[in-house]
């Protein structure tokens, strides 16, 4: 770039429009048009320093070790995966231009031919193979290595085509590869470069320095990225733990983009001239989990339904959450496979709740301790206290116990809480349902719920290669969960970003992870 030659320029958006057409199974191919932007004259030079302030810093510079959304955003500015997700979480082509299912146990990925790592290595099939081998390697502290456990072998068909062979049908391969497994250069997989000290990817920005707890700096990569040339010269990521401080940083221009934003501060920011507030519906579900191993009454579906009837979620959203939440009808909200828009939220009906509890054999109600963390989720304690009041009104005498995060987690894992305020459901639905609802597997967050049909659906879905068919199975599962109420369904929280008006060309993703795309400073 900057060589003065007249050459058509691709923006990221145009790239997405074009490549989506290549779609194999499941790739987005809607009303997207191929449209080249011919920019006559010299290429656009990236300009300015973009300052992004998040609540926490990256945990590591090794992309296979990082887990938090805040770190993933930083990693994905420097590293690419085979597949990506659009703002609506749909899978889009990335380092792989297309994929197809060859057989139940074989997937074929075609790779881009125009990609180079920041150290000059040309990206190809060997890198995919080496990276997946490293991702699964037991010597890396990768807590998500199991996500690719079914992968048996990566076969190099030619330098730009790989076939991934799995042990048995593994329907989620594309989903997993759109979230995990950032592709690494040989310098890292070969052990020459320590990825905890230096990042070398194919992403639009290249690593400059990281001072943990202080700042991570990246400059635009000289070679234009396939998703569009970066429009910003330098990125500076800083962690600032205190919400009020983040807001001041944004207002004073010491930050251009901040997250998370406390909903209390939204009015103040909206009144600030040069600032935009961006809200979106998050994917994760805020719920109360009912432990039927601990509380006998919860073994009866009628009682669990009653708990849903007894919880006035609309009022909670209006008062406790100040409107910054979206009502959930069942376990999963929009954007998650299996979301069923025909399901209506349980109405607030304390009489019906009392009646159901009585029918279930508890005419005098029962006692429950509702455990909640404090400060982990937005208004967790406040909401729990309100919920306890609502439950007590229908005869479920509820005591709130506020717990530190560590004992809280131990209680969830040990299945010793009667009921707890919790957040669940991520982009990879199979992981969520498996740890929560499968009574054969009795996963980490499972609390005694048992339904053989649900078990079968969970176990079969992961082997069902057809995306539509799998979606139907998750829908069916969602209906069962809705009817049987192992959780009290509350809301999807509102995600909030705030940015300076001069930051443009950027879109929030519903998983709350920052993808820079065509971000620029005007």
């Amino acid at each position: 770039m900057g060589d003065g030659t007249a050459r058509p320029r691709l923006t990221r958006r145009d790239f997405l429009k074009g490549t989506a057409v290549l779609a194999g199974s499941g790739l987005a191919a809607d009303a997207l048009r191929w449209e080249l932007l011919a920019a006559p004259g010299a290429a656009v030079q990236p300009v300015g320093n973009l300052l992004i302030v998040q609540g926490v810093d990256a945990e590591s510079l090794d992309p296979h070790v990082t887990t938090s959304g805040a770190s993933k955003g930083m990693m994905w500015a420097m590293y690419d995966k085979l597949l990506e997700r659009g703002p609506d979480m749909r899978i889009i082509p990335w380092l792989a231009t297309s994929y197809r299912v060859v057989s139940d146990t074989t997937w074929e990925f075609r790779l881009r031919d125009d990609v180079y790592f920041h150290n000059g290595e040309k990206f190809g099939a060997q890198h995919v193979r080496d990276t997946i081998t490293r991702f699964k390697s037991p010597t890396i502290r990768n807590v998500y290595a199991g996500q690719l456990r079914p992968v048996r072998d990566v076969e190099i068909v030619n330098p730009l085509t790989v076939r991934i062979h799995t042990d048995g049908p593994f329907a989620l391969l594309a989903e997993v590869l759109s979230i995990y497994c950032e592709i690494l250069p040989r310098a890292i997989t070969g052990g020459e470069v320590d990825p905890t000290r230096r990042a070398i990817g194919t992403g639009p920005y290249r690593f400059v320095e990281w001072n943990p707890g202080q700042r991570m700096v990246m400059d635009f990569a000289e070679r234009p990225h396939f998703s569009g040339q970066p429009r910003v010269r330098r990125l500076v990521w800083r962690p600032v733990a205190e919400s009020a401080t983040r807001v001041v940083e944004l207002k004073t221009g010491a930050a251009h983009l901040i997250t998370p934003v406390d909903p209390i501060q939204i009015p103040e920011l909206e009144a600030t001239r040069n600032v935009d507030v961006i809200t979106f519906r998050q994917l994760s579900s805020q719920i109360v989990v009912l432990n039927s191993l601990k509380v006998r009454a919860f073994q009866d579906a009628r009682v669990r339904q009653a708990m849903n009837y007894a919880t006035d979620v609309d009022t909670l959203i209006r008062t406790v959450m100040r409107g910054a939440a979206y009502r959930l009808a069942s376990a999963f909200g929009p954007g998650i496979p299996g979301y069923d828009e025909s399901l209506r939220p349980y109405p607030y009906d304390p009489d019906r709740a009392r009646q159901l509890i009585s029918e279930a054999g508890f005419p005098n109600g029962f006692e429950v301790t509702l455990v909640t963390p404090e400060g982990r989720y937005l208004n967790d304690r406040l909401a729990s206290e309100a919920i306890a009041g609502m439950w007590s009104r229908v005869g479920v005498r509820t005591r709130v116990q506020v717990s530190d995060w560590s004992p809280f987690v131990q209680g969830v894992l040990g299945k010793t809480h009667d009921a707890f305020f919790f957040q669940q459901v991520g982009v990879l639905l199979d992981a969520t349902v498996a740890i929560n609802f499968d009574s054969d597997r009795k996963g980490a967050a499972w609390q005694g719920y048992h339904n053989p049909e649900a078990n079968r659906l969970i176990q079969d879905a992961i082997k069902t290669m057809d995306a539509n068919q799998r979606n139907e199975m998750y829908k069916r599962l969602n209906q069962i969960i809705y009817r049987e109420g192992p959780w009290v369904f509350l809301w999807n929280q509102q995600g909030v970003y705030a940015k300076q008006k001069r930051v443009q060309g950027w879109e929030a993703h519903t998983d709350g992870i920052i993808r820079l795309g065509g971000i620029r400073l005007s």
Partner: protein
């Protein structure tokens, strides 16, 4: 004297051993670190693998023995969260914390001692009353609230100072001010009370009777004697500040050891917690030693080598 020093330094080793055992036990009693490090949806085999990689599958005494062996070689393990040597993480941040602590102490000494001295010799006056009220307010203000207030005023409203981070000396102003408000209030009250006490002593009357000027009486005779308890408290405060002020570091995103420690505790990042505790513990003991030596200078009656 040298014997005393050797004895105190040997004492340091025992203190650190005791502290390290305590940290080890407390952190382990408070829950399985691996389950806090790994997401809920991690698979059991990954969790066990990570446990082995961190050496947490071994019995506690074995873990502690390994830790001691490494520590003897100057290695404090690798942070679970940051995949970097814990010692390096702490030493990276320690200068920032030390800078903040020393600036705070300098502000405290620069303001607290003169003001304390001044009002101490004017006990009962209007000025004394006003300063007492002010110091009372200073030590009652929660630093979290004060920090946010200062940010809103100086960074947001007036735009004179940056809100957070550490890029230049300007960034030092608000956090050190936030911390110094409390310590200055404390020291002012202490100096005032001690000066008041000392000024009633016989030797002050003697000094005055010898015809010394009031200035000399106060600054040489009264102050020096009043400083014993002040130095003790300053030493303790410096130790506390070197341990990092978690709240102020969080509010101002100050890259210090306090916040590192808190995050370490929350995520059960054992090597980081141990490294912070050992290093801050060492500093704390050394500062106390320095304070004890300073007594010798302030009060020649104090000796540590009796019987020798």
């Amino acid at each position: 004297m040298i014997g005393y020093l050797v004895q105190r330094l040997a004492h340091l080793v025992w203190v650190l051993l005791a502290v390290s055992i305590l940290v080890f036990l407390l952190v382990h009693l408070s829950g399985d670190p691996v389950r806090l490090l790994t997401p809920l949806d991690a698979r059991p085999e990954d969790i066990e693998r990570v446990r082995r990689l961190y050496g947490l599958d071994q019995p506690l005494p074995v873990q502690y023995w390994r830790f001691l062996k490494d520590a003897a070689r100057g290695e404090l393990g690798e942070s679970f969260r940051f995949s970097r040597p814990a010692l390096e993480l702490v030493l990276d941040r320690l200068p920032n914390t030390a800078l903040l602590a020393l600036t705070t102490i300098a502000l405290t000494v620069g303001v607290g001692i003169p003001v304390g001295l001044w009002v101490g010799s004017r006990a009962g006056s209007l000025v004394d009353w006003a300063v007492s009220l002010a110091t009372f307010v200073c030590i009652s203000l929660p630093s979290f609230w004060l920090g946010v207030l200062l940010i809103l005023l100086f960074a947001d409203r007036l735009r004179w100072l940056p809100a957070s981070g550490f890029e230049s000396p300007l960034y030092l102003v608000l956090p050190s001010l936030t911390l110094a408000v409390y310590t200055t209030g404390l020291i002012t009250r202490l100096v005032r009370a001690d000066v008041l006490e000392v000024l009633r002593q016989d030797f002050i009357r003697t000094a005055r009777a010898k015809g010394l000027g009031e200035r000399v009486v106060r600054s040489r005779h009264a102050l020096r004697n009043a400083l014993i308890s002040t130095v003790t408290v300053l030493g303790l405060q410096l130790g506390n500040l070197l341990g990092g002020s978690v709240v102020v570091e969080a509010v101002f995103a100050w890259p210090g050891v306090g916040w590192l420690m808190l995050q370490g505790i929350q995520t059960r990042d054992l090597p980081v917690v141990r490294a912070v505790v050992l290093i801050v513990g060492t500093l704390f003991v050394l500062i106390n030693l320095a304070v004890d030596l300073l007594y010798l200078y302030l009060d020649p009656r104090i000796r540590y080598d009796h019987g020798r």
